[in-house]
């Protein structure tokens, strides 16, 4: 065995790299920001939109010469991790980012990934902003029921969205016999379906069918046949864009003619390309509508279109707003300390973003309005606004 002879040499090399590394960190010129998104798995377009918007936000700052924090100018660096749209991978990616020297983490987007990642961020003391997660559990401590300290979001929560959807179903669709089909294995879908049912029943409308399926199912004919047999006149599908086209198509093939509506998980143009004529005229609640954009939103839409050749979806807009809030907080904190950044994030009272004005009242959940979109001629069109 000759290996031990090399040990002293190896130790010297290792020591050298430690010393060099230390020199590097003594004068940091970059701010590392973690991005934990769904690049592969069931909803890859969500991860792609999120990454596109993140890269755009970082590029804009870097092209303008960097971000000035406490009298020093820093360049931004994005550290991207794929959470594979799996709860365990999302937590592992958060763990990896927590030790990778990032000041904060943006993402994950889907609640089923954001909730476990938020647990990690909270215990690691790493500020996290989920752009798109709407499930209340993301920002709430599971044990104490108190708001989490380090977890924020850019989206409204399902309690609000479920109420908006239920009111829309009653007031605009005049539903008498509503039905729901939702993914019982996914936090987002389950949460919003339950609020929707509760709101309708509080208003004296009975939900005639409340059917479930499990993530990855592709045949919904058994449940849809039950829904039709129950005499439903409207169908609420608070499910992801990759599954909704199958559900709508199968409902129509089984002879369903009632109104169909959904939630912000529909807000992706992929939905229209998969669904085609079957989704014509349907409604969903979401965060922003590209066709009633403010000047700030228009600037973002133009920059995004120039870079990626398509209209940004709501995930992209919310990711961009998450970066906006984070950068504002870093500047307000005047340092790269995670604790100081958390304090600064928590003290934002109003942020004017692409998706509207967000107001924080002591928790990580913004108070903002929702819009209702109708799908017409293969595009998303603004239909109405619902205020909190």
């Amino acid at each position: 065995m000759h290996h031990p002879r090399f040990l002293p040499l190896l130790s010297v090399l290792a020591l050298g790299s430690v010393v060099l590394g230390a020199c590097g960190t003594s004068a940091p010129s970059t701010i590392r920001i973690g991005l934990n998104v769904e690049l592969t798995g069931g909803i890859p377009v969500v991860g792609e939109s999120s990454r596109n918007a993140a890269e755009l936000a970082v590029k804009e700052v870097n092209d303008a010469g960097g971000l000035e924090v406490g009298g020093q100018t820093y360049m931004l660096e994005l550290v991207v991790e794929d959470d594979e749209d799996k709860a365990e991978s999302a937590a592992a990616a958060a763990q990896k980012l927590a030790t990778a020297g990032v000041v904060a983490m943006i993402g994950p987007n889907a609640s089923r990934n954001a909730i476990p990642a938020a647990e990690v961020a909270e215990s690691a003391g790493m500020p996290m902003i989920s752009p798109w997660s709407t499930n209340p559990k993301t920002t709430v401590d599971a044990q104490t029921g108190e708001p989490k300290k380090y977890v924020f979001r850019a989206a409204f929560i399902d309690d609000f969205q479920g109420v908006v959807a239920a009111k829309f179903a009653m007031d605009e669709l005049h539903t008498q016999a509503p039905a729901v089909l939702y993914d019982v294995a996914s936090e987002y879908n389950k949460g919003i379906a339950e609020v929707y049912r509760r709101t309708l029943e509080e208003n004296g409308v009975t939900v005639v069918a409340f059917e479930t399926y499990t993530t990855g199912d592709k045949d919904f004919t058994a449940q849809l046949t039950k829904i039709i047999a129950a005499g439903a006149d409207s169908l609420f599908l608070p499910n992801y864009y990759s599954e909704v086209p199958l559900q709508v198509q199968q409902a129509h093939r089984l002879g369903f003619t009632g109104a169909v509506m959904g939630s912000d998980s529909w807000g992706n143009l992929e939905l229209i390309s998969l669904c085609g004529a079957d989704c014509e005229g349907l409604y969903f609640t979401t965060h922003y509508a590209a066709d009633i954009a403010t000047p700030k939103a228009q600037a973002f839409i133009q920059a995004y279109q120039a870079a990626y050749g398509k209209v940004p979806d709501d995930v992209a807009a919310l990711t961009y707003d998450s970066f906006g809030m984070l950068l504002q907080a870093i500047q307000a904190a005047g340092s790269l300390d995670r604790e100081a950044i958390r304090e600064a994030l928590a003290s934002i009272t109003a942020y004017e973003g692409v998706t509207g004005t967000m107001e924080f009242r002591g928790t990580g959940d913004p108070i903002k309005s929702a819009v209702i979109i109708q799908i017409r001629e293969g595009a998303f069109h603004y239909f109405a606004t619902a205020n909190p």
């Binding site: 798995g41 059917e211 990855g216 004919t221 998969l274």
Partner: protein
């Protein structure tokens, strides 16, 4: 009444696809006593053969008759998938023909993982779900309150035809006779001059092309994605075991039983009980009838 007829139709549609895939498991097991766990993923790849061919065909030649589009897509997917299966057999399984059986099973799992991840990484495919272009126009019929679509009819009828055809191939042709002979006694049959390697390749090719029929039909009704083969592969595998693995008619029967389990479980129980019911059925059957419904007790020679 209409409700149950409608659900039975739904079950026939799902069961047809399971039956077609179960055939591939059962044929390979019959001849090699090996479970080809990559079969679900071979089915997945077949849907992409159908996707790329039909997209290209519809883009270059407009106004083709739907029957021509459908048949051409079906044949191309069958051919491509058969070739893929033969290549996999030659490269991955043949070198292990005399190794312990567990080595071949683990290799099959590895091949399956390779196919899934290759398709995710392969740029023209990627992880996003998609629909096949419309091969035949989808028209709905309302027959006394029961809704039937042209797609549903095509799935059920074409599957039935393919199963009848396969049954005839296995029972009435020389290749079929050789397959049955090898599964009966793989040590004596080579001594009779049967080209064992060629017959094994033919079995893989036949099993894969039937999976490709299932894949094309499936792609007409549902979205396709690189991970779709996992769940469907498991359900088809259970179908093959329930029907009696190694037995071709058993695989067909098992496929339809699992189709009815899939559809009728949510009728009476929460939908989350589906896998529970399917796997319980498998366990109970294995306790009381380990060879499956139509399987004969194994006359294994030491």
């Amino acid at each position: 009444m209409q409700f149950y007829v409608q659900q039975a139709l739904n079950a026939l549609q799902v069961g047809s696809v399971y039956a077609l895939i179960a055939l591939g498991y059962t044929m390979v097991y019959g001849i090699l006593t090996m479970i080809n766990f990559a079969h679900g993923d071979i089915f997945m790849v077949s849907t992409y053969f159908a996707f790329f061919f039909s997209t290209a065909l519809l883009a270059t030649a407009e106004g083709l008759h739907p029957v021509i589009v459908f048949v051409a897509t079906l044949l191309t997917a069958m051919l491509g998938t058969a070739l893929l299966a033969v290549v996999i057999e030659r490269l991955a399984y043949k070198p292990l023909r005399n190794a312990p059986r567990i080595s071949a099973v683990i290799t099959a799992l590895g091949v399956g993982l390779f196919l899934e991840n290759f398709m995710v990484a392969f740029k023209p495919v990627g992880p996003a779900p998609r629909f096949l272009p419309a091969l035949i126009p989808a028209v709905n019929f309302n027959v006394a309150g029961v809704f039937v679509s042209t797609i549903q009819i095509v799935i059920i009828v074409v599957s039935a035809l393919v199963m009848v055809l396969l049954d005839a191939i296995v029972r009435r042709t020389m290749v079929g006779m050789a397959m049955r002979a090898i599964s009966w006694d793989k040590f004596t049959v080579p001594l009779m001059g049967v080209p064992v390697d060629r017959i094994i390749s033919a079995t893989f090719a036949l099993g894969a092309s039937i999976a490709a029929v299932g894949g094309t039909l499936y792609g007409m009704a549902y979205t396709i994605d690189p991970y779709m083969g996992i769940r469907i592969g498991w359900w088809a595998f259970i179908s093959a075991v329930v029907g009696g693995i190694g037995n071709i008619r058993g695989a067909m029967l098992g496929g339809f039983i699992l189709g009815f389990v899939e559809i009728f479980t949510p009728v009476f129980l929460p939908s989350t009980y589906r896998d529970f019911v399917a796997f319980s059925l498998l366990l109970v059957l294995l306790i009381f009838r380990p060879t499956g419904i139509l399987g004969r007790p194994a006359a294994q020679k030491a």
